[in-house]
């Protein structure tokens, strides 16, 4: 039986930064300040959307639980050091609080793989609220086959089924708003369970609430292990928690973001699918987690990197799926209106086939960080690293797409620098791991040749800075990695000149930086300031003895976080709006790295 659908006036989409992240380390939901879950893919981050209103329009499904009348959000926060989100509204006659989260730890128990728990409560007086449950599955926003069973409302689409249980029992019809009254001492709890190719498991709402509370304790224990001497610890903890929520536990792969096609240019075409894994992000994650006292997470990332790249080794793919498979070809979803009219909405990613030399540098540097932390690489891991270094030694002279994945390959200076880093760190690892003399000489020769060529062709003596590509006058914020390499001394005028040039010439105002000169990437439209670059600048300043500047810049960047401490990929320098997919692994990993650089910088 299919329930009737009623067209209610669509809620306006919230700004990106208004969304909170709910996650269970297998998939994630985005919920706005109105209590609406507007994005959730099942059964994994890269699955099909169950609620897709964020980029799919009103027909793509949502799950709202909030006040019946317009209300003001008076407080919105994560419960301290947990992944549980609390939103409190002031409504006529009282306050209404929505507490919600996803149950992450379901192993070893008869629980559904995806379980969302949402509870409305009030302390003052009875408050009118509304439930709007409108699940639509897949790219065609299919309506479910609906059954009202004893335990719960069940919606089915072939091999996918979801159940919505409630306490007290509510009569909910998909697609129709249901009015409820929340009274003091009598909270309303809703539990959404998802079953994909397996039987549904119904969870009693009271038991589900207890599970969420247990999960909170686990997250508190997890965060308690994080280095207590970290500067800006609360912000770093939120970033690490976000990184962990965006790490797919079955394979330990960090997804770049849980969304697709949130625009870098609202109304424009720069809309990409980020529900995949970039080895670069995983590598930065290795160093970040190692340095804060989380070696298990670091080991998991490294294991995934080596396992996922196994099929194409010694070539390192630019990006992979959560299970290390080839990323599907990029395609557009017809009829999807996009976020604020930003079309096309894309799935798949066209950058998958690109040659990106810098990837090898990130990965081998991660392995070096692992060795530096006192671990020894397994023979197989070292064999893989040797293969990557061989590729760099052989192909470093070829043009590549670079870190910014431009579609016309060029001789990117940042890529060459990362090629240098790959060989240098591989040679450092070889000090404690077996390597033939012939190979060592080949790597040394290639490393020295890269340094010589970059200093000649990649440096603009007039500007006193390295530049974006050979013969170019343009700058590139990715060059801020320079002080981390040790290719040139941190006191060298080349390093200081590059930091200053990037800061001056790519400034987007305040602490913000463009990644390269706007409008120079061949795509229509413009883009915002690229947030990881600002954190790389913090890191560069801290590493070059400019700690005070680094701290000031870091503090300014904290002002640009969303109210919940989350970051997208970019920020509109004029309006301060977050742009691009959200929340973004690379930005949060860069924030952690920046804080670590401040921690390790000499005072002064």
């Amino acid at each position: 039986m299919t329930g009737g659908y009623e067209r209610t006036p669509p809620r306006p989409l919230a700004p990106i930064s208004d969304y909170g992240l709910l996650g269970d380390t297998r998939t994630a939901a985005l919920v706005d300040g109105d209590g609406g879950i507007d994005w959730l893919c099942v059964p994994r981050f890269d699955g099909e959307p169950l609620f897709g209103r964020l980029v799919g329009g009103p027909d793509a499904g949502t799950f709202r639980l909030g006040p019946a009348q317009p209300a003001t959000v008076v407080e919105r926060r994560y419960r301290r050091h947990t992944a549980t989100l609390e939103t409190t509204w002031e409504v006529r006659g009282g306050r209404l609080t929505l507490t919600e989260g996803m149950v992450a730890e379901v192993s070893g128990r008869l629980l559904p793989t995806t379980l969302i728990v949402r509870r409305l409560s009030t302390d003052d007086s009875a408050v009118d609220a509304v439930v709007q449950f409108d699940p639509r599955f897949g790219v065609r926003h299919r309506r479910p086959r609906v059954q009202h069973r004893r335990q719960a409302l069940v919606c089915q689409w072939g091999s996918l089924a979801v159940s919505l249980g409630s306490a007290p029992r509510l009569s909910i019809e998909p697609g129709r708003p249901t009015s409820i009254t929340v009274s003091p001492g009598r909270p309303v709890t809703l539990v959404l369970a998802v079953a994909h190719r397996e039987p549904l498991i119904h969870v009693d709402p009271a038991a589900a609430w207890d599970l969420l509370t247990e999960d909170e304790d686990r997250w508190r224990d997890w965060t308690a292990e994080i280095d207590r001497s970290l500067p800006f610890r609360e912000y770093v903890v939120r970033s690490l928690l976000t990184l962990r929520l965006l790490t797919y536990s079955p394979s330990r792969a960090p997804v770049a973001a849980p969304t697709t096609s949130l625009p870098e240019d609202p109304g424009g075409v720069r809309n990409w699918d980020y529900r995949y894994v970039w080895p670069r992000d995983a590598s930065i994650g290795v160093s970040a987690f190692l340095s804060v006292g989380k070696p298990d997470e670091a080991q998991g990332f490294l294991a995934w990197l080596l396992h996922a790249s196994r099929l194409q080794r010694p070539r390192l793919p630019a990006l992979l799926t959560l299970h290390g498979r080839r990323v599907p070809a990029e395609r557009e979803l017809p009829g999807w209106p996009g976020y604020l009219g930003s079309v096309p909405v894309r799935v798949g990613n066209g950058a998958a086939g690109q040659h990106q030399l810098d990837g090898y540098g990130w990965v081998i540097d991660a392995a070096w960080a692992f060795v530096q932390a006192g671990h020894r690489l397994y023979t197989e891991t070292w064999r893989a690293i040797r293969g990557f270094a061989d590729i760099v030694a052989r192909y470093w002279q070829e043009p590549d797409a670079g870190i910014w994945e431009v579609r016309e390959p060029a001789q990117h200076v940042h890529s060459k620098l990362m090629g240098w880093l790959a060989l240098d760190r591989a040679l450092r690892i070889a000090d404690t791991h077996p390597l033939s003399g012939r190979r060592r000489r080949r790597w040394q020769e290639a490393r020295d040749a890269i340094a010589a060529e970059v200093r000649t062709s990649g440096f603009n003596p007039t500007a006193g800075s390295y530049v974006r590509s050979y013969g170019s006058d343009a700058f590139d914020a990715a060059l801020l990695v320079l002080p981390l390499l040790d290719m040139d001394s941190v006191e060298s005028p080349r390093v200081q000149g590059t930091i200053n040039a990037v800061r001056d010439r790519l400034s987007a105002g305040g602490p913000l930086l463009y990644r390269y000169p706007p409008g120079s990437d061949g795509f229509h439209g413009t883009e915002g300031a690229f947030l990881p670059c600002s954190f790389w600048l913090v890191q560069a300043l801290a590493r070059t003895g400019r700690r005070t500047e680094a701290v000031e810049l870091f503090q300014s960047m904290l002002d640009h976080a969303s109210p919940l401490g989350l970051y997208a990929e970019e920020l509109d320098p004029t309006t301060g709006a977050h742009l691009g997919n959200y929340p973004q692994t690379l930005t949060h990993a860069a924030l952690v790295q920046a804080a670590l650089a401040i921690r390790d910088a000499p005072a002064g």
């Binding site: 297998r26 192993s107 536990s249 298990d296 290390g324």
Partner: protein
């Protein structure tokens, strides 16, 4: 039943299967590595695991070879194509039953339900083992048919 043949050729067939699988891995067709998967039941060091796993795999191969030898004896025939047919049945069971069940018993294999507390690092194979590469079912089918063909050619029916 051909007990002497079983004792020797079971090992030969398993060695052929393993060699074919390693060839497929080196050719970039699959990430499935039976010795690694089995050996990590015992140790987390992948290099040691492969050695231990190779011997576990040999033992398992002997066990399956016993079934092949018994079937040939029952049928009073041992030919390459009967071996290939048995290999097809064998791989069907391996892909649809044994591999998907593995996360339930393997201490170092994550499951699709793994959460933050999981310290397992071995990726689960998924249905038909496709998490180890989309060609994995085809590779596994081919190497098991090899295994059956070898036994069909070398074992005697009586």
């Amino acid at each position: 039943m051909d007990w002497a043949g079983w004792a020797l050729f079971g090992l030969v067939a398993t060695a052929v299967l393993t060699a074919a699988l390693i060839t497929a891995q080196l050719a970039g067709l699959t990430r499935l590595d039976f010795p690694l998967v089995l050996g990590t039941l015992v140790t987390e060091d992948p290099d040691r695991a492969r050695v231990v796993g190779f011997f576990i795999h040999l033992c398992a191969g002997q066990g399956f070879a016993l079934g092949y030898a018994a079937t040939f004896a029952l049928l009073h025939r041992a030919t390459w194509w009967i071996g290939a047919l048995l290999g097809t049945v064998h791989v069907g069971i391996a892909l649809t039953v044994l591999l998907p069940l593995l996360p339930g018993v393997h201490p170092r294999m994550a499951s699709q339900r793994a959460g933050p507390a999981s310290t397992a690092v071995l990726e689960p194979p998924g249905l038909f083992g496709v998490n180890y590469g989309i060609q994995t079912p085809a590779v596994v089918a081919v190497v098991h048919v090899f295994y059956g063909v070898v036994l069909g050619l070398l074992l005697r029916a009586h």
